[in-house]
Amino acid sequence: MNFDQNMVMGIFIFCVIFSGLFGIITQKNLIKKLLMLGVMNTGVIGFFIFSVMGDSAIPPIITEENMLNAALNLSDPLPQALVITSVVIGFATQSLSLVFVMLISKRFHSIDEDKVEILVERERENVD
């Protein structure tokens, strides 16, 4: 079996995405959950870059040396524009959700998912 660079990269990215998903499911601490969401997002962005990366492609930057070389194997420049957008959106979601976790820890004095769920449930029953 030939372990080339691309295959190792692919396995690595799969592990990152899967560990993020595993963390979201298993972690009960909300901050840890959000961190694992970040890990998953990083993995997905890595996958985006990886999936459009050609074999032995070089970054799409035209310099003085390679300007006249027509047979250049440049990688596609579009995905990085897409990925930057999703990085920014991911950052916005992450920071907003951290604000909400902060509010939750202030009001419920807990950031454990199950405990907050029970407290919210109790509040709902008391009001109705």
Binding site: I24, I25, L78, L82, T93, L103, V120, D128
Partner: protein
């Protein structure tokens, strides 16, 4: 009459420019929002009646559609823009009478502008950006009063849709690798799309669109947020996911996923009904009702979904705003407590409620009848019996609210301060009657189809009457736990992958 591509680009950019105008003129933000929504509604009503089969497309910045961002206005966009404009104008009038701050109106207007941009986007990545922006604003709208339960509902929605968007990005990465483009027009002609990508994209859209098992954020978000926000969530923001499914339905057409969309729709239809029957909170009943109505839309994805989504936006926004009137009067959302209260409400609430109640059941000459018939005519024959069973459930869970309102009605006690609220609710009701009459005259229903409600209403009301004094109030909170829902996503994706591999 024709629309030039330049005009469409200006329209798209204006949707972000006008909301920011209301940041600079904060005192006038309500007027600016009303002008924004009202003028858009007028333009599209004129467009709809003059030329309903309009198709205009434009690419930003002088690029070609191979490397630029394309926007496209067609029938689907016109339907969704019209329904969201009607809902927003009624919600804006409703929240005018409540004391919300300028920030709330700014957020409402920004989400409206983004929705219009989503409805004309013709690019998978543009859809992602618009959907994310809509979600970000709706997290803020859900938690607008910063109550404990609102914050929790909003955070839950945030984590689940973040997982969904990650799946979506995985899907479009695969599509970009295999097809080399994300433009929907080009994907239409680029051959069969990888099934793995379709699985991820379908999961993401179902998470946004309110299907059972996928959108478990829906009940808490709909029931805990403020009344205008619930109306918008149910009528428009859930429809954003539906719109994406309708725009990209050609991708699922020849895939094995097409049958599973039907199955998910039927499951969602009945699960929503069962869960709604078990509630005693009026907003939770309506939230689960949204889930079951989304089931209808999903089953009719290839015929009738567009028209039915339009009608659902009208009657569900009207229902939620009517519940606001009830809440103002009785100060409780508990149906049992309303039933045992000694206060009375004016009979115009009953009229407004019954228009949308009859419409959701599918009575002729109201919105929903012709559309339901369109959905059922294009489905296998046994589906007719399923739909009749579902109709009984719908009458049963809403009939309980109807009976409670009926028992509390009086002809006195009209409060002048509430006039604007009544006007705001009567706007969707007016359009329900208008579209209902227009569409019912165009079809020729069979005798049974036109008269099935004569059996349906008494039987459904009887079913609803059985348990009116002692409702279970069952809320399966373990089903709505973040970890468990993500487990469900992983299981569903694994199931689809297994089916795809075995075939």
């Amino acid at each position: 009459m024709s629309i030039s591509p330049q005009l469409l680009q200006v329209f798209s950019l204006m949707q972000f420019a006008i909301p920011f105008l209301s940041l600079f003129f904060a005192r006038k933000s309500k007027a600016i929002a009303l002008f924004h929504v009202g003028s858009t509604l007028t333009i599209f009503l004129v467009l709809f009646f003059l030329k309903s089969d309009v198709v205009v497309s434009a690419v930003f910045g002088g690029w070609t559609k191979y490397n630029g961002i394309q926007i496209k206005l067609n029938v689907e966009s016109v339907y969704f823009i019209l329904s969201s404009s009607i809902v927003f104008i009624s919600v804006l009038l409703y929240s005018e009478s409540k004391k919300y701050d300028d920030k709330f109106f700014f957020l409402l207007e920004l989400v409206y502008g983004t929705l219009l941009n989503l409805f004309i986007s013709n690019d998978l990545f543009n859809i992602y950006v618009c959907l994310e922006l809509i979600s970000l604003i709706s997290y803020l709208l859900i938690s607008s009063k910063l109550r404990n339960r609102q914050i929790w509902a909003s955070l839950k929605y945030m984590i689940l849709s973040a997982v969904g968007f990650n799946f979506y990005l995985l899907g479009i990465a695969i599509i970009y690798r295999t097809q080399g483009t994300l433009n929907i027009d080009l994907l239409l002609s680029s051959g069969k799309i990888n099934d793995m990508a379709l699985i991820f994209i379908l999961t993401a859209f179902l998470i946004k669109s309110g299907a059972f098992m996928f959108s478990m954020w829906l009940p808490s978000a709909h029931s805990e947020s403020e009344i205008p926000v619930s109306a918008i969530l149910s009528a428009v923001i859930v429809k954003a996911g539906i719109f994406c499914l309708i725009r990209t339905k050609f991708m699922f057409e020849h895939s094995f996923l097409r049958e599973y969309i039907l199955v998910i729709g039927v499951v969602s239809l009945f699960a929503g009904i069962v869960l709604a029957l078990l509630q005693k909170d009026i907003k939770l009943i309506l939230a689960f009702s949204t889930m079951s109505q989304v089931g209808y839309i999903l089953t009719g994805l290839y015929a009738g979904a567009l028209e039915y989504a339009f009608c659902h936006a009208l009657f569900k926004s009207s229902l939620f705003l009517t519940m606001g009137l009830l809440y103002d009067k009785f100060k409780t959302r508990n149906l049992e407590k309303i039933y045992s209260s000694d206060r009375r409400i004016h009979f115009s609430v009953l009229i407004l409620f019954s228009i949308s109640f009859l419409s959701i059941m599918g009575i002729p000459f109201l919105a929903g009848f012709a559309e339901k018939k369109l959905i059922f005519d294009n489905l296998p024959y046994y589906f007719k019996y399923i739909s009749i069973a579902a109709a009984f459930g719908t009458v049963a869970y809403l009939g309980r609210i109807f009976i409670v309102i009926l028992s509390k009605t009086s002809f006195k006690g009209f409060e002048k301060a509430d006039t604007l609220k009544y006007i705001s609710i009567s706007i969707p009701s007016f359009f329900i009657i208008l579209t209902g009459v227009k569409n019912t005259l165009n079809i020729t229903p069979s005798f049974f189809e036109a008269g099935y409600f004569l059996i349906l209403i008494p039987a459904g009301l009887f079913l609803g009457l059985i348990a009116i004094k002692k409702l279970p109030g069952f809320f399966p909170s373990s089903l709505f736990n973040i970890s468990n829902i993500v487990k469900i996503y992983v299981l569903v994706i694994a199931f689809f992958v297994a089916v795809y591999r075995l075939m």
